[in-house]
Assembly symmetry: none
Homo-oligomer: 184 residues x 4
């Protein structure tokens, strides 16, 4: 939850209504899939969640922050078990990255978030924090390759990653390239 004030802090004043937070996140996820990031507005989210725009402004500093929280809940950002075998672990990571980005909500959100992250340092930090747990211990260039490939593929030829024969083929080929290199 991205609150203006991060500390749990002894609540003074009327407490936030937690049901609003839930309803808004749910509405955001639904709308991302239905209308896409580009046509997502504060007003639509507020209306769908049964609340008003000011209540959203109180909670999230920008639409992108809200989207980022709605698209990548904790369940998707849990760390994965590692075996120690490079080939196995790389395949797990590739499949994991693909799975995270291929989720309908994340997929609708990702391109817009990519653009927003470059323009907003606070969003950059929020995203890093959200994924740091899942990705601890992986060297940066390898992470760039795996996450970048999944993201790029979904942007440029999403059809290949939707249906099954080609999806596994792509995962296999990426894994092979990363474990054995192009020379093989």
């Amino acid at each position: 939850m991205i609150t203006q004030t991060d500390a749990p802090e002894q609540a003074s004043g009327r407490p936030r209504d937690g049901r609003i937070d839930e309803a808004v996140l749910r509405a955001t996820a639904e709308l991302l899939v239905e209308v896409g990031y580009a046509d997502l507005t504060w007003a639509k989210v507020a209306s769908r969640a049964g609340t008003t725009r000011p209540a959203l402004y109180r909670r999230w500093p920008s639409l992108a922050h809200l989207v980022h929280e709605a698209a990548f809940p904790q369940s998707l950002t849990a760390p994965f078990p590692r075996t120690g075998d490079p080939a196995t672990d790389v395949r797990t990571m590739v499949a994991g990255a693909l799975g995270a980005f291929a989720h309908p909500v994340a997929r609708a959100a990702a391109p817009g978030l990519v653009a927003a992250v470059t323009a907003d340092p606070t969003l950059h930090s929020a995203l890093l924090a959200r994924f740091s747990e899942a990705l601890g211990g992986i060297e940066q260039p390898l992470l760039d390759l795996i996450a970048g490939a999944a993201l790029f593929a979904l942007l440029l030829h999403p059809g290949d990653l939707d249906a099954e024969p080609t999806r596994t083929a792509w995962t296999d080929r990426i894994t092979a390239l990363l474990t054995e290199g192009v020379t093989a």
Copy 2:
């Protein structure tokens, strides 16, 4: 040049003023660097180019189309010479991808274009056409890895790719991973 009507079109009536096209592309490139994609508007471009919004609408179907043309002129999308040696060619491609994305204008434009591409099929086609020449003959998964890694790295830790010791180090490591695999 992306015109509403692609045919060479028999010029009837007053011909377009070519100097406007140039001035607009120059203005767009400058503004991308100065204010960023998110704050780029038709009005700012028109004002900087010394013309009016309707003249721009006559030429480009959307801001993204204009940006894509301003950010990736032909000079950046030329094919590269190949040696046949995998290691050498991979390094050339990695460096090329990094170079293309690291150019200040492209860098400002890329994230926004990524978002726009997913929402506009005509822009998707235009981008593919623009890069198809340079990238002919490369297998898709390898392209995903190289371009994706460059894009992703620029989004997440741009500092590493700006200055020199780390930039070459990153290029080296990516090349090594792609030619020899993680096992090495």
Copy 3:
């Protein structure tokens, strides 16, 4: 007509749509009577006139300016004929002031305009200009007495000036006080 630019100025660009001006003034007058000054908003006026808020902002610098123009059209602010006989002329002026302020639209607008005038010098000037023609040649204190009495009476005991026996009685008494003084 209160335009941002008062000069008739050789129109460059698309000219204003005069039908919008008319529709807005009509809508404003109607709404003043129906909902009152306090509940009059740009949005309601625009909606009733079949146009949008930006079209109004282009024409009037504030709601009060629009109201002032809608409530006191030229027809109400024409100069009156004078006979030279003090008693007759004073009665004409008293009845005229009462008539101008008692008109349903003016009556709904007046109290709000009174408040707005003190806070906005440009509105002050606009109001003076609008009435200067009708009231030329009358000494200031006499004008204060006549207009002030009509305004004050409408604010404090409007019932007396609505129906007929009392309305004429009030006009007679005011005229008598001003022509003969309290001593009579």
Copy 4:
């Protein structure tokens, strides 16, 4: 004091803090002069008085009620001594009306109250009650003339009533008109 419930009310529960009432009235008077009626808000008053908005809502039903109480304390609404001589008494009343409206706080409050009175019957009653004592026994048309003239003059040409030669001149002329009539 305008309380929600007028009865002296059997005090059960924690009693009101009288210091808050004083601080609020003082803060309101100051703010009226500093920012004007139009920009006066509950929040500014509460903040200046060192309290919170709910404490104000508990005491006054509307901002206008609070303003009316802050701008016209009892000291200003005391009855005046009458001599029986019309000329003298009229002059006293004119000067009194001018004095009451010319006080900086009253002056800032009056135009806004004029507007609020027409929209709120309870405020209308409250104002009448406040002034009834001072003005008992004066015929309504004469009161309209005197109070109306003072109010109107302050709205339209306030400069004339601020400095001294013109202020006395205005008072003299109004008195003359009311005692002898225009014919003189």
